[in-house]
């Protein structure tokens, strides 16, 4: 087995950072969110920190496999929160522009990073993990990120595509 470059606890560390990022972003956009949300995310990050602190003492008792799954579950919770905020902005608040910006700037880049590290870890450790799903997720996230960035850099792009479609329809 290759020397592990990543420990399963890396996913907990990544999740803590995601919660902290969410806390700061929800504070910046505090008019659109409940007032307590940034603090709830800070507490979620603190729970992750506590989990890292405590689990350090029990590394021998829990095997590598179990450590991976409980850290991965925590990461899923963090990613779930990002998606939930995206849906909240889009469906609950009807802030479509902000929801699109959120998905391009937060949801997909973070999903891309998470999928990259999970697939890298599962490859190195020989974990029985659905690699195909990870790879598909990786490609989809990369495509969405690329499209979002190109739209962000030239906002006329969508109009141009729409116009070309209409011209083709008339032909």
């Amino acid at each position: 087995m290759a020397d592990p470059a990543l420990l399963p606890e890396f996913f907990a560390l990544l999740s803590v950072d995601i919660f902290l990022l969410l806390s700061l972003l929800t504070c910046l956009l505090e008019e659109r969110f409940p007032k307590t949300l940034p603090y709830i995310y800070q507490i979620a990050a603190l729970i992750g920190f506590g989990h890292l602190l405590v689990s350090r003492q029990f590394l021998d008792q829990f095997g590598e496999y179990m450590r991976f799954w409980y850290n991965f579950f925590y990461l899923l919770v963090a990613l779930g929160n990002i998606v939930a905020i995206n849906l909240y902005l889009a469906l609950e608040k009807d802030l479509w522009a902000l929801a699109k910006a959120w998905s391009g700037a937060v949801t997909f880049p973070i999903t891309l990073i998470a999928v990259f590290f999970v697939s890298n870890y599962s490859y190195l450790q020989g974990m029985e993990f659905p690699i195909l799903i990870l790879q598909v997720g990786f490609v989809v996230s990369a495509i969405v990120l690329g499209v979002s960035m190109s739209i962000f850099l030239s906002p006329d792009l969508l109009d141009k595509v729409r116009r070309r479609k209409e011209v083709n329809r008339w032909k």
């Binding site: 907990a12 504070c27 920190f49």
Partner: protein
Amino acid sequence: MEIKKILFRKEMKLLTLLLTSLLIASASATIYYSLTMQPKVTVSTPTITFVSGAPDQPSGSTVNNAWAFLTAKSYPNATLTYEKALYINNTDSGSPHYFRLQHVNITPLNGTSGVGNWTSIKFLVYNSTSYVFSLNYTVSSFDWILQPSSGATSYYSVPASGQWWIRLETRSPATATAGKVCDMQISVDVKE
């Protein structure tokens, strides 16, 4: 009133959250770093192992994967040869591994009269076809002369799944006293 206003301003909230975030992130990263620095010792089977050389192996010997205890004899004025006293196996089927023989300890000690009960004790290593290298103890007056003189041979590569063997040769002078014992300790250093 003014202070309360300042405290509840968005910038203040953001600054507080930023500071606590930095604190939590750096503390978490420190814990993760300390986890990566924890040494791990995993019990595993050795790649280079000893295998019994029976029926050529000296009787009364004990051979284990990781160590071997040989109880050889020596005859006065005659060379006694254990052709395949011990096998050395590379259990790795994927890649070759290097090993060497190194002298660790021998009694009787140099300068004592007991040394005169032996002429030579030789450990010759053979691969599947021919002689490769050896670690020899020869006696000059009452001193052991090691060959190589450093007490350690060079490293030699055993091919993947290869099996080599050690030929043990002992010889005593005609004047040797029966029942005298020579204890030797040799290490087999393996580059994994």
